[in-house]
Amino acid sequence: MSENVGTIVGVSGNLVTVHFDKPVTQGEVGFVRTGEIALKAEVIRIRSDNAELQVFEDTTGVKVGDPVDFTDNLLTVELGPGLLAQVYDGLQNPLPELAEKTGFFLQRGMYLKALDREKQWDYTPVARQGDEVTAGDTLGTVPEGIFAHRIMVPFGLTGSYTVAETTEAGSYTVDQMVAKLRDEQGTITEVTMVQTWPVKVPIKAYAERLRPTEPLVTKVRIIDTFFPVARGGVYCIPGPFGAGKTVLQQITSKHADVDIVVLTACGERAGEVVETLREFPELTDPRTGKSLMERTLIICNTSSMPVAAREASVYTGVTICEYYRQMGLNVLLLADSTSRWAQALREMSGRLEEIPGEEAFPAYLESVIAAFYERGGVVKLRDGGLGSVTIGGTVSPAGGNFDEPVTQATLKVVGAFHGLNRERSDARRYPALHPLDSWSKYPGVVDTTQVAEARSVLHRGNEVDQMMKVVGEEGTSIEDFVLYLKSEYLDASYLQQDSFHDIDGATHAERQQYVFAKVNDILAAKVFFPDKDSARKWFLQLTSVTKDWNRVAMDTEEFKQLEQRLDSMLAEVSEHA
């Protein structure tokens, strides 16, 4: 690879214009050398012999005439054992190691290797000498936490290869050779445990893509029962500030029934990441009994960190997800928030002086969002196993108005919409998903006819509520009033959930099926009351008993007692028939 050095001819914010002589690739990474430091940058536009690069750092001090080293590589991430439990910035620099080097502040121009170079991994070869392999096939495994991390034929290799040599089982660092592959021409490629992959290109080393049909249990009742998410599905959570987007993401990251969770804090508050960072190592994962951090990976490019790296962070996250999917694992990517990522696109587009679309977002916003969400999915691997990447992105619409471009572009491509609502959060009705506006196209964990009935109660109850605002309680018939109380009961005792309570905060699928059937019986029951006050009183009491019921473990005596109490309460008011 020959040296390809360009010269800076212009600087505007974090956009530099570079004059070049040798060929330059769109998307190629270059390093802007200024003084002692080199700043990472990416080619985003080329015009005749000038390339425009977005610099991932502050460009203060850069001069016209400073050299730029082109690397001939696209923006890539390092993939290999040791990714889990890490905390990276948007360009995959490990933040704790950076802190050891530079102290409190993030110094620019400091890039570290993503993976630990010293650590020894116990390698067990799987492929034998003489085996035919293609990109993505397993050569061997190393244990990483609770998983057997597959060392695969690099995804970038095209065509078919023969395993020429494999190493013995034993301890190796990630840079040591584990296999030699020979292609049809006889050229030998050495493979280590690390491979790199360009972040903006989906990994496609699988047999076929399937339709997401398996529900992903989040243990949040309103989601699993009413607006379910599927493994390999994509969903979005738009909501105004203070409606609980981030709390919902945090809960999901704790309870979601997946193997690995990748959290991408993209342009949000640093404080929230810190909570996860300090809290997760202390929490145990109920599935494995190990620390929750062992299945978590954090990509953290908070709001005050450089904007261009913010754009890269969601791609870094999704690429790592795809890598683990290739191992037959179910991975969940939580991106908070995609609006900040879209704003990063807008800032760059403005600098490039492109013709703006709606609200000055670039015209290609929709296709970029669509391409990102399309990277989620369930795939059948070549060995017959299944793997999935589920993507959940929050959206922070300006003024809480869902008509803005990012929300609308996202709604076109997702399979579930969890719209958070200011009125519900103000009324402390958490999780503040709007039960009438939200939707999902994925199958849930409970019977669909029951859900349809419950939903109709919510709808009709809401209509009665609207009507009562006009005619008052006096002008409402007792039948309508009871309908309204039923919908309020469903809301208070099932849709709302105390996420900070150990038992109520995490309702597993079987329990949801059981409890929801009971709630549904109550909703369907014909109940009679002499007057509205007694009806309200009865429903209030019913709500409080059901709430208590939600707070006790399912296999206890108390659970049965409370259930009997619900039954007897129901019997009392049904007898009048």
Partner: protein, 455 residues
């Protein structure tokens, strides 16, 4: 070394253009015009064309004006001598004191590594019950005060500055009326707080570019003090003026506006300032309290809206009081469990009762008959507003909690409040009139104070 350029090729808005070589992005320059000397900053390089933003504005700059590049970026002197002084947005003295030039530090420095942050855990006591009890301010928190124009937000900031338990106060004033600036200075001086304060003030009459620098310069100084183990409170008023300055400059620079004329990077610009709030592990902290005036009292306006996504809660100032509904300190849970056992109970109960009072008021205004319970609520609500919500009340958290119990005890029976019986037993004061307080003297003092305030 410092070559002087004499030919200014373009003057548009506050931006001038000269042809020069070897100039770095972000570098400072001195521009001499007929109205005096001003600093300017390089904002764009295009081959040998250098665009500079002139801090004092371009009026009076002629095409043969002098431009001298200084070879460093915007910085400010950091010494103990800053304390008690007043500067403008470019760091020049606004009082009659000498200019400071030693130990220059760069402004707008890099952001803190998230891995080095810690979960905030220390409360900042302000002596204002609406903050201390109901929405505790926490060290390293960033919190805006949302207010319509005309609300006494600057008075509130000044009160918090005087009463808060911090080591150093840094005031960043943007677009302040000159009277407001003088009032701030005088209030601090009269109360003996000026010696631990530093003021960076941009008044409405000063050049727009300087307005844009106020938060950076204030926070850069704050950061240095925090690293020296000081607890720093940064007051920024008014961030909407700052955003408007950004808007003005962006439009002059022919940037494409995104929402109501504001630049597309408004969120990032605001966030990079607010995110300077930090609690350094093993050193001091920066707490940011900012004022965001809401044009048209509209919280969906781009400035308050973007701010709400960045900050950790907000205070709504309405009718001269901190509104209990809508106001939120996202970090209060980190601290209000550790103050006194009854803190959380008093917080929720009093707000719930106040919400009921509001409902009763509505009923009353519609002409419904008042029940005995309604009458109790009416008395309670009035006392709550007078003794708790009034911003002039200055009492410690503990006496505020005691006061809360006393108000509740005067208005209700214990069981009507819904407080757990354990807390009632421990904290419910004996019936008014009979002495039963643990500290009768203090209570009496509080009462007189409250009575004084009520007048």
């Amino acid at each position: 070394m410092h070559k002087v350029y004499h030919r200014i090729e373009q003057i548009a808005g506050n931006v001038i253009m000269v042809r020069a070589e070897g100039v770095a992005s972000g570098e400072l320059a001195q521009v001499v015009g007929t109205l005096g000397v001003s600093l300017a900053q390089v904002i764009r390089l295009e081959r040998d064309k250098v665009s500079l933003q002139v801090f004092a504005g371009s009026r009076g700059i002629s095409t043969d004006g002098q431009v001298r590049f200084l070879g460093h970026k915007m910085d400010v002197s950091f010494t103990e001598a800053l304390l008690g002084r007043v500067f403008d947005g470019s760091g020049q003295p606004r009082d009659n004191g000498p200019a400071l030039d030693e130990n220059r530090i760069a402004i707008g420095g890099p952001s803190v590594n998230p891995a080095k942050r810690i979960i905030p855990r220390k409360m900042v006591r302000t002596g204002i019950p609406m903050i201390d009890i109901f929405n505790s301010l926490v060290e390293s928190q960033k919190l805006p005060i949302f207010a319509a124009a005309g609300e006494p937000y600057n008075e509130l900031l000044a009160r918090i500055a005087l009463q808060a338990e911090v080591d150093i106060i840094i005031l960043g004033g943007m677009g302040l009326k000159h009277d407001d600036y003088l009032q701030f200075r005088d209030t601090l001086e009269e109360n003996g707080a000026l010696s631990r304060s530093i003021l960076f003030v941009h008044t409405a009459a000063d050049p727009t570019v300087e307005c844009q620098m106020v938060p950076d310069i204030s926070l850069a100084v704050a950061e240095q003090f925090a690293l020296q183990n000081k607890r720093v409170l940064v007051l920024l008023t008014d961030m909407t003026s700052f955003a408007d300055a950004l808007k003005e400059i962006a439009i002059t620079m022919e940037q494409i506006p995104s929402n109501r004329g504001y630049p597309g990077d408004l969120y990032s610009q605001l966030a990079s300032r607010y995110e300077k709030a930090v609690d350094f592990e093993g050193a001091g902290s920066i707490t940011i309290l900012a004022v965001t005036t809401m044009p048209g009292d509209d919280v969906t306006h781009p400035v308050p809206d973007n701010t709400g996504y960045i900050t950790e809660g907000q205070f709504y100032l309405r009718n001269g009081r901190i509104e209990p509904f809508g106001s939120l300190s996202r970090l209060k849970q980190q601290v209000n469990g550790k103050t006194r056992d009854d803190h959380r109970a008093v917080m929720t109960t009093m707000i719930q009762l106040y919400a009921s009072y509001k409902e009763t008021l509505e009923k009353q205004s519609m002409g419904f008959r008042m029940s005995a319970w309604d009458n109790k609520l009416l008395i309670y609500g009035e006392r709550f507003e007078k003794e708790m919500m009034d911003l002039t009340v200055n009492i410690s958290l503990e006496s505020a909690l005691d006061l809360g119990w006393r108000i509740m005890a005067d208005c209700f029976e214990p069981e009507e409040t819904g407080v757990s019986s354990k807390l009632i037993e421990q904290f419910w004061p004996a019936k008014a009139g009979t002495a039963g307080k643990e500290t009768p003297d203090e209570a009496a003092a509080d009462e007189t104070q409250a009575a004084e305030k009520a007048e």
